[in-house]
């Protein structure tokens, strides 16, 4: 499908500009000579370490970006305080859980960004991304009861919802809310804490299946960009998913 097709390895102008800006910030001088050298270095970096270029403009919806930033800061401070109070009160005894949470997107860079946002807050991080099945395995501290586990699950889904809403493309951003609701509805909220294996969100699973079909029809022409996961042990490599993450 077009959303997942690789656009070849042409040099993305936006990345180029970004690298030049970083270069100038690093030097702290803003003159023409620095810009020229920055351009040269950016060119070398992009030629030697090519990224799959994508048409992804994060400044497409600046207000959503601001709201996302605010959400991340509030979450960062809130969970930092919660993590410390919890650790101090229990004097170092942790009680944690590794939970399977459905992914709300089927676009690599959105998944990577969302994983980054979830992993930024103390006490929570994405341990494993099972790309092909659309499931994350999230480690969360401070989980003692089933009630805590459900709350942590909702928290991760909510965070993903905001990221998909802010970063997603035209198809995914409007669907973020319904996907989040679907993911929450699917969870078995029994008062007893027991392992669950959620199924991926229907839209994500459909998109994934469509991609697989297109890939098998095209044969090997894609160059094996996606990690193929045949057995459940062979979970898609995270490095693969992070490739588009700057």
């Amino acid at each position: 499908m077009p959303r997942r097709r690789r656009h070849g390895n042409r040099i993305a102008p936006s990345l180029m500009i970004w690298l030049v800006v970083v270069w100038m910030l690093l030097w702290g001088t803003f003159d023409v000579a620095t810009a020229v050298y920055g351009l040269l270095v950016a060119l070398i970096v992009l030629v030697v370490f090519p990224l799959p270029s994508h048409r992804w403009n994060i400044f497409h919806r600046p207000w959503r970006l601001v709201i996302l930033a605010g959400y991340v800061i509030v979450d960062l401070v809130g969970s930092a305080v919660r993590f410390f109070v919890d650790t101090l009160r229990e004097s170092g005894r942790v009680s944690a859980a590794i939970m399977a949470v459905p992914v709300l997107s089927d676009v690599d860079h959105v998944i990577a960004s969302a994983a980054n946002v979830v992993s930024l807050a103390p006490g929570t991080f994405v341990l494993q991304i099972d790309r092909s099945r659309g499931i994350w395995y999230v480690y969360t501290t401070g989980v003692r009861t089933a009630e805590d586990a459900h709350k942590a699950y909702d928290n991760v889904v909510d965070m993903q919802h905001v990221v998909v809403w802010a970063f997603g493309d035209e198809q995914e951003a409007p669907a973020a809310r319904s996907r989040a609701e679907e993911a929450k509805r699917e969870r078995d909220r029994s008062p007893v804490c027991r392992p669950q294996q959620p199924s991926p969100v229907a839209a994500v699973a459909a998109s994934e299946a469509e991609f697989r079909n297109a890939e098998s029809r095209n044969g090997e022409s894609d160059g094996g960009g996606e990690a193929g996961a045949d057995g459940p042990d062979d979970v898609a490599e995270v490095d693969e998913n992070r490739r588009e993450d700057r």
């Binding site: 960062l76 993590f83 410390f84 650790t87 009680s95 590794i98 980054n116 930024l120 057995g231």
Partner: protein
């Protein structure tokens, strides 16, 4: 004291506090996964606060470099903690007695049958 001094003082002291608590967590927590939480995350928040506290005292010309440091911290810390956590999980760096529920282990087990 001006507003700027207050912002700077609050940022620097609270940032240092978060770093200290992170270090304390490193010592007290039992296994790699929970130590990772203490090692990478509070330090991120602590560093951001310290950078913010410093930036308000500097000329804008120098402060942009600090923005860059903060940005890269935010981008790289989760990626690193995730890679370490993943490796730790696979090499037995997890204290299973701390886990209330482990859905990844269950999934890996079911795949082997």
């Amino acid at each position: 004291m001006s507003v700027r001094d207050w912002v700077s003082a609050v940022g620097l002291i609270s940032g240092a506090l978060f770093c200290v608590i992170g270090a304390w967590g490193m010592v007290r927590l039992p296994d790699t996964l929970s130590r990772l939480q203490a090692a990478t995350k509070p330090q991120t928040l602590g560093l951001l606060l310290i950078l913010a506290g410093t930036a308000v005292r500097l000329e804008p010309h120098f402060a942009v470099g600090l923005v860059l440091a903060g940005l890269f911290q935010v981008i790289t810390a989760p990626a690193l903690s995730q890679l370490f956590g993943r490796a730790a999980y696979r090499t037995g760096g997890v204290d299973r007695s701390t886990l209330v529920v482990d859905e990844l282990a269950q999934r890996l087990r079911s795949g082997r049958e």
